[in-house]
């Protein structure tokens, strides 16, 4: 595994109730590159993300971060990682700014938080408890982390879900900027990116194990 690859995945498979969820996955991701994971509903994309972040242990195969298995370099792998899943991990009782402050590096100042929130279109909502906001706005608070985060490796599970046109364009520009700065992105989505060039990888659901 050449050190250039920030992430290498060697035929990962996961078994639930004696059924393999998807055909073993083999992929590699290097700096300054985005990989678009395609797959029908229920083909196991979310499970793949859980396997990549190390929350679930694969039935066979393994994940390498810069050439080392993630079990051995857990600390620096996870400090370099930003994962945004289906759920937006936003607390209803906290305000949008408090939520973002909680999820971004401690050094970020109040101005940075405010400008990140305004750039995702939440100017007036920074100090309102989030249970008053809509699901789309919750999603935007979660995605504001893309601006404040310093992680180099991004895992985005369906970032464009519940977002309007303007939100999608905004997120795509963030991803474009991140790639140009040498970051790496692995994202799953049902729609294609308009501008940025991406490699595609499709997951095939598995009917029945061996």
């Amino acid at each position: 595994m050449s050190a250039k690859n920030i992430l290498t995945v060697e035929n990962i498979a996961f078994e639930r109730n004696d059924n393999l969820l998807f055909h073993p996955v083999d992929l590699a991701l290097s700096r300054g590159e985005a990989l678009h994971i395609e797959g029908s509903n229920g083909s196991g994309k979310t499970t793949l993300f859980r396997l990549l972040t190390g929350v679930l242990q694969p039935s066979c195969g393994s994940v390498y971060f810069r050439g080392k298995p993630i079990e051995q370099c857990r600390y620096d792998y996870l400090s370099e990682l930003l994962f945004i899943g289906h759920q937006s991990a936003v607390k209803g009782m906290l305000s949008a700014q408090e939520n973002l402050k909680w999820m971004s590096p401690p050094a970020t100042s109040a101005e940075e938080l405010a400008c990140a929130l305004s750039s995702v279109g939440l100017e007036g909502y920074t100090h309102i408890p989030c249970h008053n906001l809509s699901a789309g706005q919750h999603r935007r608070v979660a995605l504001a982390r893309l601006i404040t985060s310093k992680a180099s490796l991004w895992y985005l599970d369906e970032p464009f879900a519940a977002l309007d046109k303007q939100g999608i364009a905004l997120i795509e520009s963030c991803m474009q900027a991140h790639i140009e700065q040498g970051g790496a992105i692995l994202f799953s989505s049902h729609q294609d990116l308009a501008k940025t060039a991406v490699r595609k990888y499709s997951i095939v659901g598995y009917q029945e194990a061996f």
Partner: protein
């Protein structure tokens, strides 16, 4: 990820206390339950002070145990629903630290108030004054142990929809030693004996629970995703 998350213990303790403070009204729920259920006993058993005083140590402890059990289920379920549990699992720091932070926050918010309010029940049960201090101390220490063991049950039954009763069944056998030594502290104080021994054993339970429970909770949380 970010230093705030890797701060672990203090970060989660602060956040959970802030969240509890934001919805202060449901903090009173376990306390009101504790008071109401304790008033059932004289109605059910007998109002004579002598008989009540004989029952008081056990009853107060059982009510505190049930109040703590009631409130433990929501420890992880709100984080599980909105996805912040997944972020906790991915944080680079040791998973035991956020768990310690959350359980301490739960104890500060539920266990300690129960202990502080228990003299009120003691007076209602005509408990002798000498037993008030050991009662508060044993309840304070005991509810901390109950929070740790209850958190293990809550983490195990997290992915299940109706985990409430199952949580009680799983955790009840593990609560019994704490109940035995907790009510024994008050009982020996009422009888005028030295009560520091059983209190020390409660402290030992707390030490064991604080060391081992986070490991079990971490393993159970990883399982729930």
């Amino acid at each position: 990820m970010s230093a705030v998350l890797s701060g672990g213990f203090s970060a989660y303790l602060y956040r959970d206390l802030l969240l509890a403070y934001r919805c202060r009204s449901d903090l009173a729920r376990p306390l009101i339950f504790f008071l109401v259920v304790s008033t059932l006993v004289p109605l059910g058993v007998a109002p004579e002070p002598a008989r009540l005083a004989a029952l008081a140590p056990g009853i107060i402890w059982i009510m505190a145990l049930l109040a703590s059990l009631l409130s433990i289920e929501s420890l992880f379920s709100s984080d599980f629903q909105d996805g912040s549990l997944e972020q906790m699992l991915i944080a680079p720091n040791l998973l035991a630290m956020p768990i310690l932070g959350k359980v301490t926050a739960h104890w500060l918010v539920i266990g300690l108030p129960l202990a502080l309010i228990s003299p009120l029940i003691g007076i209602m049960f005509s408990l002798p004054a000498v037993a008030m201090v050991p009662m508060v101390l044993s309840l304070a220490l005991g509810t901390a142990v109950l929070s740790f063991i209850g958190a293990v049950g809550a983490a195990l039954t997290l992915p299940l929809r109706k985990g409430g009763v199952l949580l009680a069944l799983l955790v009840m056998p593990l609560y019994m030693p704490v109940l035995i030594f907790g009510s024994a502290t008050i009982q020996s104080a009422v009888d005028g004996l030295a009560w520091s021994g059983s209190l020390a054993i409660l402290g030992a339970f707390l030490a064991i629970a604080m060391a081992l429970c986070p490991l079990a909770i971490a393993a159970a949380l990883r399982l729930s995703s």
